[in-house]
Symmetry: D2
Amino acid sequence: MNRQDIRRIAVFTSGGDAPGMNAALRAVVRTAAWNKLHVYGIERGFEGMIDGHFQRLERRDVANIIQRGGTMLRTARSMRFMSTEGRQAAYEHLKAYDIDACIAIGGNGTFTGAKIFSEEFNIPFIGIPGTIDNDLYGTDYTIGFDTAVNTAIDAVDKIRDTADSHNRLFFVEVMGRNSGYIALYTAIGSGASSVLIPEAETNLEDLKSVLRKNKARGKLFSVVIVAEGHPMGGATGIAEKIQHELASMEPKVTVIGHLQRGGSPTAADRLLASRLGHAAVEVLLAGQENVAVGIVNGQVTTYPFDDAITKEKVPQEELIRMASILAI
Amino acid sequence: MNRQDIRRIAVFTSGGDAPGMNAALRAVVRTAAWNKLHVYGIERGFEGMIDGHFQRLERRDVANIIQRGGTMLRTARSMRFMSTEGRQAAYEHLKAYDIDACIAIGGNGTFTGAKIFSEEFNIPFIGIPGTIDNDLYGTDYTIGFDTAVNTAIDAVDKIRDTADSHNRLFFVEVMGRNSGYIALYTAIGSGASSVLIPEAETNLEDLKSVLRKNKARGKLFSVVIVAEGHPMGGATGIAEKIQHELASMEPKVTVIGHLQRGGSPTAADRLLASRLGHAAVEVLLAGQENVAVGIVNGQVTTYPFDDAITKEKVPQEELIRMASILAI
Amino acid sequence: MNRQDIRRIAVFTSGGDAPGMNAALRAVVRTAAWNKLHVYGIERGFEGMIDGHFQRLERRDVANIIQRGGTMLRTARSMRFMSTEGRQAAYEHLKAYDIDACIAIGGNGTFTGAKIFSEEFNIPFIGIPGTIDNDLYGTDYTIGFDTAVNTAIDAVDKIRDTADSHNRLFFVEVMGRNSGYIALYTAIGSGASSVLIPEAETNLEDLKSVLRKNKARGKLFSVVIVAEGHPMGGATGIAEKIQHELASMEPKVTVIGHLQRGGSPTAADRLLASRLGHAAVEVLLAGQENVAVGIVNGQVTTYPFDDAITKEKVPQEELIRMASILAI
Amino acid sequence: MNRQDIRRIAVFTSGGDAPGMNAALRAVVRTAAWNKLHVYGIERGFEGMIDGHFQRLERRDVANIIQRGGTMLRTARSMRFMSTEGRQAAYEHLKAYDIDACIAIGGNGTFTGAKIFSEEFNIPFIGIPGTIDNDLYGTDYTIGFDTAVNTAIDAVDKIRDTADSHNRLFFVEVMGRNSGYIALYTAIGSGASSVLIPEAETNLEDLKSVLRKNKARGKLFSVVIVAEGHPMGGATGIAEKIQHELASMEPKVTVIGHLQRGGSPTAADRLLASRLGHAAVEVLLAGQENVAVGIVNGQVTTYPFDDAITKEKVPQEELIRMASILAI
């Protein structure tokens, strides 16, 4: 599509919410306005596209939102968009509003929907990677990850106060359904004793041995970070398997939970979201379509939706090794 | 006991830890030093008293701790102190260190131990109320309560971001084993839709009706705060009972957990702990014994351990009523 | 005025903004709605009253603001309201909107305006004390004070990191134009070496002697808190007078500044603002007028505007004395 | 130097303190311990090296410091190290302690000292870039920068509350003596109206025009971020030059100041510091010397001290341009 043909675009957030989505919306709207485009915001992602919930967004409509968690357009997972009828209805609303292109902020599911839709209908999409899990290939970091890690570390810092006061062992579960990024970064950043993630093999005998050795060395308490998606059943599953043998350490389980999704975005997430929102409009106007934007090695880049969906991104081995050295 | 006879005192923290305990320790040590007393810190409460884990604390030893969560002396619950043998061993260590009086920072269990001990042995105790639950009679607020409420509200603020973004219903469990103080203050402070506490009757039909009415009125999401000690089984128990009927609101449960015990104490807790630590030494030197200190209506006060242990403190009715009016 | 006669009220914020003003607005609007009153919000205090900037506020209009700093109605100091013409214009707008009573959230200047106006015109006012300075007689605490103190302490905690790392002396100025409340509470809460406030005499020789003695005792750094309104010229003035003699401590001055006015209100300020907003409507409906509401000893109370304006409130002597004992 | 010859190393922090220095110390000590090295910590940088203030650091000595601001070894700028006598004294202490290599955490001045010393004496140095200013060539980010930016943004978020409530213009000065990194990132992250940094030309006419246009467009308040090292005299200098013409916006100046140096390090700074501390020991053992470590494009790298000292690092042009587009 030629950039001269794009005059009206739509933007929406979809899937799980992530801190920084508002900053990305702001950047899309303002960069579009700067380029004389008209912008429509669609509420609740593909759901609102199907139901025709569109609203005009001008520069001032995105004032004072850069610091807010959540997403002003709300978000949803849409079952209906998986059907041809759903997508047809969505298409008709886009046509009715004369939308020339869409910018979708979300994760894997969002990009999958965008890819299928843009193959069926002639409306180009640009994706912006927004998910706290950081499990999207094609960008070093996703919007919301840095905030979620800071929130988790802040929680572990607090838990450590009580673990330390009582000489206790804590199993702390952080988010990450299929990915250990949040867990690994939280573990390094909070100085945890161990971290258990789906991407690395877990040997419970080793874990017990580390915890016992730590105690023998004078470490008075231990915190073990477990990724939500750990195949042994998260922190609860792990704790059940070994707490009996470590009873003298009075093991406790705590699941940090949904608060990791919220909160004012960190500096890094505001910067990242601003850059990606800005870039999404720029690459669209440069003629690209059906790609997602990312930052790799500090530079804006684009990659096909397919890569984001199918290729795997895993934490650096080096970090896993380092975590175990520094924990001792 | 005459103030001239007191030259060496011991101080310890016991029971559950609470933010501000370090600030109280600092105030005890410095006020004692100002009055030319020698202070010993006992590690891990009654456990350390039984085992003889005493350390000399001087002014500089409590520098730079006012802002720290947890307790530098650590804390524990002691089964052994419930036996005559345990208390006898504790007494012998106190004698060996020539301790004339003890200052105990903790909650109900701590005060019970102090009361029994001081009846058996001729060593006066002064109690300082430190527990996040605020369920101690005799003081308007206990050390740690304000911090715990701020932590819980901060967590609910974050959860609200995601509840709002997804139009969801959240049941959030906050701490408080027998007491609804944290839950009630968190609910008012976070603008929650409802609050369920042990001190007020819970009618699930009313709750469902409120939630449905809110939705009909255009409230897009709801947060219900539940006290950990709610007799229907905390947030999980409540949610199980009614989530089926509210399925369209996609109810989620989150348990904020142990992070409520930690963190740097708030201004109010640092002030309260400083005042109570200071007062504990002053009332001891004024000849009082076997009482706890508190702040009631802004003034330092004392009350017998018995009152703290047996009398009930419940949240003001007015606040419960107001919470329901403001939630709508 | 009889409560049956009140059907429409106006609410506004005036003077300096304070965190928690939004929580108070929310409480006023929702308590009024519960009592079937219509509420109008006036923008920018007396300025908006003169210019006729009124907006209808319903329950949902104050949703999701309890956690926000600042004031959604904005605020201003109004020179025009000091003239008869200004007040006449304001009156005419109130009449045009059929307003039966006003609720004013602000400090001394706001209450003075309200008093003068309600004496001239037959429209009752209720005041809600909102100012970070806590210098209003009639209530133990004003809305915004607890947040401002927590913000200041958080800043001093950070400054202490660098003071400690460099063994330096810091003079830190906190807000408080005529009042040392913020300074005194910040000093106690941050464990500062000294505090200089307008309410207590300042002897620079004593200060220098304390700082030197601390150094001799092994204290590696010192933080001195100075109230903005200190008659010797705030932190800058004090530092200029004595830094030469303390050059070896590398004295630095830092003025915390306007950030103390902002930020999400603390739990205590949300509670206080909710209670006062709620109470303002209740006492109005109970027939009171031209009084301000407050919380004294945990109970709602009212007091004539005159008392708030003319009577002085000063920090407890006991706290000033304690601060100096604990600092050593 | 061959890695087999290195058995005892010294580590110190020097120059301005930065959040994350403790995390770097911890990583150095633990990685060294893992590699069976003995570690000595030197107090107050080159000053302590000259005075012989060394202490043995073992694994447990760096427990529970990863979350602390400042530096447990303290820091200083050393005039004496600029003289041959000073360096000779330092060398003799290093020899007395049998130190085979040094790891220096600091900025430009620290690296300059290390370079000169290691040219004069046969003791290899590895540098770790720690400075909030992020103005060191050879690494994408320096330790402390992310924390300082988050602290500055948090302050601006608060100032914005009051700017918004009063419809005011604020000039906010952030740190950065010769560098606009903190200012630029703070401006983008806080959605400021404008940013003035040493690296980009400042046209006051353009600034006034932007502020006036914003007002005309309905923007009710404006925040202008100014780097401390701006050649027109920081925020105070800029404000003086133009506030007269913008009097209707009631311009205010606020200098965020030293609090930007302190505080618990962010996740990113804890990660960065952990990686760099770990890498410093590893590259030393791999035989490198007189280089600093950095992270470029996510990978550990090394570069000669000379590059760090003489080469300039400036913010990406793209970010400056984007900041102005998003501000509108």
